[in-house]
């Protein structure tokens, strides 16, 4: 509410600039130009991707490209098994009529009138244009389901994301509980150690972690992707800071009632720490769904590929099938868009308050 009234004021000052009061500063013009350009630059490529993902392979080859996915109309003509592509032909006298192409020989195409299929006419190819209609090529989305390992990529990504997030939440919340509820010797040292591991990203220890994972017999299994990143300093830190705010009296009261430490953790502290756990869950889902370099190293068989690795493998092929890649990219993008639309506030405040992503 308050937002609209302030914006109305700024809009009014924008319009009434010539009348003296609230002079139009160059920064006002710049602001709206920048925002307009920003929307175009940020959304444009994504919208273009989505539109393109509904085009047929021949539609994708077209240059200059059309914005909407258009498909050439094909008609069934007596005497021909396959449907024939429809063209609009301009004859010498300037009249136009719609003909179907039987075959093309060099620069001349043999065409028939769908209404009168017995006589064929020869037309130079520069005198015809495709007759097209708006058509979404849903087969770009449905074909990969049957023809490639796409479903298994999707499954693997979902398994990795869900299992890794559950493991991450469990072990990090346990550690955060240990570091926030108790006071014991070595607590600060442990905290320092955990924060210290922030300095060692996976990019620095690729080879030895690969060795460890190989020794554990996890190469080409999803566990190799799930386990190495499960303990995150970010997660422990985030949860601990939150748990420190839980009143100690609550825990003392539970102990008086003879609750075990595990019961206090799972029944008292965890429910109270839900907001922080939700933030970590969202982060973890994002990290895992998007992870690329590490799965690329430990997953070498296409059955165990995650979506990201699978997509990369497809785009690296010699004969790139863009119509499938674009559709699969859109599918990969959807969960993120859904999460973002519903949880935008959570994510942005989570990042702004923790300074991490």
């Amino acid at each position: 509410m308050a937002d609209t009234s302030t914006t109305r004021r700024s809009l009014a000052s924008l319009i009434s600039a010539q009348r003296g009061r609230g002079k139009l500063h160059w920064t006002d013009v710049f602001t709206y130009a920048y925002l307009l350009f920003g929307v175009l630059l940020m959304f444009g490529p994504v919208i273009w991707l989505v539109m393109s993902s509904f085009k047929t392979p021949s539609g994708l080859l077209e240059f200059p490209p059309t914005f909407l996915p258009l498909g050439q109309i094909e008609v069934q003509v007596d005497g021909h098994d396959k449907p024939l592509p429809l063209y609009e032909v301009t004859s010498q006298d300037g009249t136009t009529r719609q003909l179907a192409q039987v075959r093309r020989i060099g620069i001349v195409s043999q065409m028939v009138d769908p209404q009168n299929p017995d006589t064929t006419v020869k037309v130079p190819i520069d005198q015809r244009t495709k007759v097209r209609e708006f058509r979404m090529a849903w087969e770009n989305y449905t074909d990969p389901l049957e023809r490639f390992n796409f479903v298994s990529f999707l499954n693997n990504s979902i398994i990795v994301t869900v299992v890794a997030t559950l493991v991450t939440l469990l072990i990090n919340s346990m550690a955060a509980y240990g570091l926030s509820i108790y006071e014991f010797r070595g607590r600060n040292a442990i905290m320092l150690f955990i924060i210290g591991t922030l300095m060692i990203p996976i990019t620095v220890i690729l080879v030895p972690v690969y060795l460890v994972v190989t020794k554990m017999g996890m190469i080409n299994s999803l566990w190799a992707v799930i386990l190495p990143g499960a303990a995150t300093p970010t997660g422990v830190f985030l949860l601990r800071q939150y748990m420190l705010t839980i009143p100690k009296d609550l825990i003392e009261a539970a102990r008086m009632d003879n609750a075990s430490e595990w019961a206090i953790y799972s029944k008292v502290v965890l429910p109270l720490a839900m907001p922080a756990i939700a933030v970590l869950a969202i982060f973890s889902i994002m990290w895992r769904w998007n992870e690329f370099l590490w799965p690329l190293i430990v997953l070498n068989r296409s059955e165990v590929y995650t979506l990201q690795v699978g997509l990369n493998a497809f785009q690296g092929e010699l004969d790139v099938q863009w119509h499938y890649i674009l559709a699969m990219t859109v599918v990969t993008l959807i969960p993120v868009v859904v999460v973002f639309t519903f949880l935008q506030k959570f994510i942005t405040t989570g990042i702004a308050s923790s300074g991490m992503k």
């Binding site: 602001t31 490529p45 072990i171 240990g178 607590r187 990019t203 972690v209 303990a231 300074g355």
Partner: protein, 340 residues
């Protein structure tokens, strides 16, 4: 929680309740063994029990590997298991760091490593400069009283959540020979540009795309910093009749500077580790024009015919040292911000 009737909150509460049920069951089952542990070790040692899984993970997947990494970098051969590897002393480092002149990668024995270093240096110089510049401009604009601020903030932020592979594919599709950008160039009377054949254009788009993808994150941090500036400072400046430019240089920028510092160092740390989106976008090409340190490590250790783990580890140690220095700078910057 249970009170949410109707609307989306009611639905999400119910979903949460259904999802929580198995979790509660599992936690319930764990209660007996853990109560038994508590009886045997005593309550004072319980924090260690809670810390154990997490520390075990850090130990196995971070600390132990860190030491193995050092060990690897002093060995040669193609065996993966440490026991089978040949001790070679500092040979890997000597090989890696052997250059006639350090200014020219082609005079180095391992020119790919140096090319990777130089490319990374060029990349982070441009990427961090423009990333911080555009994040600052965007944060300043989003901090103004504009209509639909939430919407515009979301517009700039959403690419942060996209996976690097998706980001790269989105832009690859735009930049292809018959892509929409070339269609635009042709329509205004220019020639098509084969972006991924030219080393300069490839580097440009590597920088551009990574800024596009990450700008929202840094904008958000700067925006939080801007919103923490006391409004009465601006009011006082307005009363004094200070111009907008003057307010920016004298109030906004100095007060935002600690946040800027954090953003710069964070961007440097991320920039040094650049791999994913550029690898998918350009594959490091043309030639080695956009090959960075991490890709050098990845190629040396994992994609070459002869997997040279020792050399990859030695390069990792060099990367680790660079990151260590940067992280120390970041800690100092963060401390300065939080104290200042």
């Amino acid at each position: 929680m249970a009170g949410g009737k109707g609307g989306s909150s009611g639905v999400s509460d119910r979903v949460a309740a259904v999802a929580a049920w198995p979790v509660q069951r599992i936690f319930g089952l764990l209660e007996y063994p853990l109560a038994a542990i508590q009886r045997s070790v005593g309550i004072s040692r319980m924090p260690w029990i809670f810390l154990l899984p997490n520390l075990a993970f850090f130990g196995i997947f971070v600390v132990v590997p860190l030491f193995i990494n050092f060990a690897f970098s002093f060995t040669g051969g193609t065996e993966l298991f440490l026991g089978n590897r040949v001790y070679t002393g500092t040979e890997q480092y000597e090989f890696l760091l052997d250059c006639e002149t350090f200014g020219d990668p082609t005079t180095c024995r391992e020119d790919r490593f140096w090319k990777g270093l130089y490319n990374t240096a060029i990349f982070i110089f441009f990427q961090v400069t423009f990333l911080v510049l555009f994040s600052l401009i965007t944060a300043l604009i989003l901090n103004r009283e504009i209509r639909g601020r939430g919407f515009f903030r979301a517009v700039f932020f959403f690419p942060v959540l996209l996976s690097p592979v998706v980001v790269a594919l989105i832009w690859k599709w735009v930049l292809l020979r018959d892509g929409i950008l070339n269609a635009f160039l042709v329509s205004i009377g220019l020639d098509k540009i084969l972006f991924f054949v030219s080393p300069e254009w490839s580097m440009f788009w590597a920088v551009f795309v990574s800024i596009w993808a990450h700008m929202g994150f840094y904008t958000l941090i700067l925006l939080a910093g801007l919103q923490a500036i006391q409004p009465d400072l601006y009011e006082a400046a307005e009363m004094d009749g200070a111009s907008k430019e003057r307010v920016f240089w004298r109030i906004t920028l100095p007060l935002l500077w600690p946040n800027m510092l954090v953003v710069i160092v964070l961007a440097l740390i991320k920039g040094v580790q650049i791999f994913d989106e550029v690898f998918v976008l350009t594959g490091g090409g043309p030639g080695t024009a956009t090959q960075f340190i991490v890709q050098y490590i990845y190629n040396t250790g994992f994609t070459e015919q002869v997997q040279n783990f020792g050399l990859a580890s030695a390069a990792s140690v060099v990367l680790g040292i660079i990151l260590f220095v940067l992280t120390m700078t970041q800690l100092a910057a963060t401390r300065a911000r939080d104290n200042g």
